[in-house]
């Protein structure tokens, strides 16, 4: 359940947009500094609602974290029980004078764009969606996309997978099962391929798609196929469907790598997880909007540097030297010396 984004090629455009908004935003930022009007931040869930133990719930955690760490911040979290509630939820927050309103994912994009057009003086942000594609198309200067540079943490897990396979010997093959071939899935895959090749040059990375994000059996079949071809590590990039991938890894006695959240709770076969911190994203978006760093019409990119993406718990069976190697690569990515690719080879 991810949305399309283009990070690198549009960076130049983003810079232009940021400058434009910075100029236009100077007037808007002034009232926020007054003590009399508290800064108000709202979050609208998708139909998964806030008790979904995942995407929506993590964002609510981020909102609550913001309330605890930004003095005087007022928050409101609105649940949507049906698609018909998206629009009234956005509209009611905008009418109540909320300064920034965050939509919890791509399901809300159309309605958020509609409301953003009607309330040009209210700031909007949308999780895991770029502001450069329809319905926003970079033209709505009060909407900010919150996107995740998952090629960066995937590069690290790819390297770790390569190191583990190299140490173990045997078939130098690892696999990854994506949901559907769409850009937000492929950024994970591309980083994984590049990271594995970096740390184990001769390695073969099997890439498969289940064509589904929900049905675990489909992911399990694809993973099983890769394991039969000698894969020693299976990376899940397919949300709930990917639990099937990790299950196949467990049954075959090989490593599995989790996605989005820390999936180490699944068992000792989990090597680590490529974590996407949507809670950090929500918090940083609010903080940025309050500090006048709102990127209207552009994306706020979350990466290793600002801890918007990262690694989950790493298995205790990983040697300390490997951890050191990973830490070194991380520092190089943060410093901009390594730029993991976003396109699958």
């Amino acid at each position: 359940m991810k949305k399309v984004r283009f990070a690198a090629p549009l960076a130049a455009l983003a810079t232009v947009a940021v400058v434009a908004v910075a100029l236009a935003g100077t007037g808007a930022a002034a009232p926020a500094k007054k003590q009399a009007t508290p800064f108000k931040a709202g979050l609208v869930s998708d139909v998964g609602r806030f008790n979904d133990k995942g995407f929506n719930q993590n964002q609510l955690v981020g909102l609550k974290y913001a309330q605890a760490h930004i003095p005087g911040l007022q928050i409101s979290a609105l649940e949507s029980h049906s698609a018909g509630e998206y629009l009234p939820n956005f509209a009611s927050l905008a009418r109540k004078g909320f300064n920034i309103i965050i939509g919890a994912g791509f399901l809300l994009a159309n309605q958020e764009a509609t409301v953003a057009k009607q309330f040009p003086n209210t700031k909007f942000a949308i999780t895991d969606y770029t502001a450069f594609i329809p319905p926003f198309s970079g033209k709505l200067k009060n909407v900010e996309g919150l996107t995740y540079a998952t090629q960066e943490n995937s590069y690290l897990v790819g390297c770790l997978a390569g190191l583990m396979v190299k140490q173990k010997g045997g078939s130098q093959t690892i696999g990854v099962v994506g949901g559907v071939k769409i850009p937000p899935v492929d950024t994970f895959l591309a980083g994984y391929q590049a990271g594995a090749a970096k740390c184990d040059p001769g390695i073969k990375v099997l890439v498969g798609y289940s064509q589904d994000f929900i049905d675990q059996a489909k992911c399990k079949t694809v993973a099983q196929n890769q394991i039969d071809q000698g894969s020693q590590v299976e990376f899940n990039v397919a949300g709930p469907c990917g639990l099937g991938t990790l299950d196949a890894a467990k049954q075959a006695g090989i490593w599995g790598i989790g996605v989005d959240v820390d999936q180490s709770y699944l068992g000792s076969h989990i090597l680590t997880s490529a974590v996407k911190r949507v809670d950090t994203g929500v918090y940083l978006a609010i903080k940025g909007a309050q500090n006048g760093q709102f990127k209207g019409g552009a994306d706020l990119v979350f990466n290793l540097k600002n801890a918007g993406v990262g690694l989950g718990k790493i298995s205790p069976n990983v040697p300390a030297s490997f951890l050191k190697k990973i830490a070194g690569l991380r520092a190089q990515i943060v410093a901009g010396k390594i730029k993991p690719p976003t396109k699958v080879k």
Partner: protein, 430 residues
């Protein structure tokens, strides 16, 4: 309502004849008048209040907040206003401010949007009930109508506006009728129980919709292939709106179409031969057959007409304000099931369904998290409060068959002195 049914005193079944569920419901629908549904609703709200109290919140404040969230408080804001007449630029005097940017009037318009659909899904259940059929398939018929409406509405962009809307509504109604008629036909032809078949048809509609709108499906949008949502309804396929900003889910003319459907429902049942036959079959299919009525045909007709109402409901939602349909919309939607509660609380009568639809529409909208002040009731609990009150209403609607049974047995004791009174339907209901 019940005074328009001259044959009801003859509705008593012969002794020893085991009453079916539909017969008991038919009796229950006639008995008790307007008092029992009101008592039912009041008890449900009282129990809901106790639960609110148990969570440590003030039930009066909570209900007040829910009431404000429904927008019904708009009626208490009298004043002298000059408002713009819909579709014109004429400004006239009115007692209430219709500016939909105010929270109360916006909330009310959202409540009425839900009421529109609930009237139609409620009628879909009520009409079948009057023929002695329990139509659980309102949800599937609603989805079918919505799928067809989004298909027609998002195709043929060049068509004339009036014609396009009319065609979309017509085909949605026919599609709803077709899927419902399957259940009616199976009942008529082989006696398959309509509760089972309509539930199965619900899943057929659910999965057909999930396929058609899902990734790679024929109705999925071509712009963003990663999102399982249909294309948008084109401009000529949209119903006109008359209250509120058309960009922000304004109230559309479908509200009047739904009110019209209530009138049609009443006329059809009480002023046509078909309605007479449908009711006769509902009261007692054996007697109706003996009287020369084609029971099988009436089962098919009654289900098809139910399907028209539900399909119309789906079309109203798509063409009136949703303008698109996604796989998730189909999967989380339950408006057809709320229609069952609407029909039961509304006693399967036109006026009752209209009022019950308003109550449930208000309840769903009022307990949405945006209407509730978090200091009064935590938003994360509010959504569950909606479901709870709905469930309690349903429970008591079911349980008041029991209340009626007690009530009727008490009456029987009272009637004991008039031993000559004819056998009454109460006997069959207990």
């Amino acid at each position: 309502m019940s005074s328009t049914e001259p044959e009801q005193p003859q509705g008593g079944e012969p002794g020893g004849y085991a009453p079916s569920v539909a017969e008991r419901l038919a009796f229950y629908q006639r008995a008790g008048g307007i008092i029992t549904p009101i008592i039912t609703a009041v008890i449900a709200f009282f129990m809901g209040g106790l639960v609110v109290l148990a969570t440590g919140h003030n039930p009066f404040k909570t209900y007040r907040a829910i009431f404000d969230g429904t927008g019904l408080n708009w009626f208490f804001h009298f004043g002298h206003h000059h408002i713009t007449l819909p579709f014109t630029h004429t400004r006239v005097f009115f007692w209430w401010d219709t500016n939909a940017n105010a929270n109360a009037s916006y909330n009310l318009s959202q409540t009425l949007l839900l009421t529109t659909t609930l009237i139609l899904t409620g009628l879909a259940v009520a009409f079948a009930f009057r023929c002695g059929l329990f139509n659980i398939g309102g949800q599937g018929q609603y989805i079918t109508g919505a799928i067809v409406a989004v298909w027609v509405g998002s195709s043929w962009a060049g068509m004339a506006k009036g014609l396009h809307v009319f065609l979309a509504i017509l085909l949605a109604c026919l599609a709803g009728a077709a899927i419902a008629a399957v259940a009616g036909f199976l009942k008529a032809a082989v006696g398959a129980h309509e509760v089972i078949t309509t539930i199965m048809l619900n899943w057929i509609a659910y999965w057909v919709g999930s396929y058609a709108l899902g990734r790679g499906g024929p109705l999925q949008n071509k712009v963003d292939i990663s999102v399982p949502v249909s294309s948008d309804v084109v401009k000529s396929g949209k119903l006109p709106t008359f209250w509120g900003n058309p960009e922000l889910q304004a109230l559309h003319v479908g509200f009047f179409i739904a009110l019209g459907a209530l009138v049609v429902f009443w006329l059809m049942l009480n002023r046509t031969t078909l309605g007479y036959q449908v009711r006769a079959v509902g009261f007692n299919p054996e007697a109706a057959r003996y009287g020369g009525i084609n029971v099988a045909r009436n089962y098919v007709y009654a289900m098809a007409i139910s399907g028209v109402f539900a399909g119309l409901g789906g079309a109203m939602d798509i063409l009136g304000w949703q303008y698109r349909l996604g796989v998730l919309d189909i999967q989380v939607s339950n408006i057809g099931f709320i229609g069952i509660a609407v029909a039961l609380l509304g006693r399967n009568t036109a006026v009752g369904v209209g009022l019950a639809a308003l109550l449930f529409g208000a309840l769903v909208n009022g307990t949405s998290t945006r209407g509730l002040d978090p200091s009064v009731f935590p938003p994360t609990l509010a959504g569950n409060l909606t479901l709870m009150i709905q469930a309690l209403v349903l429970l008591f609607v079911g349980a008041d068959v029991l209340v009626l049974a007690i009530w009727s047995s008490r009456k029987k004791i009272g009637l004991g002195r008039r031993a000559a009174s004819p056998p009454s339907p109460e006997g069959a209901a207990t």
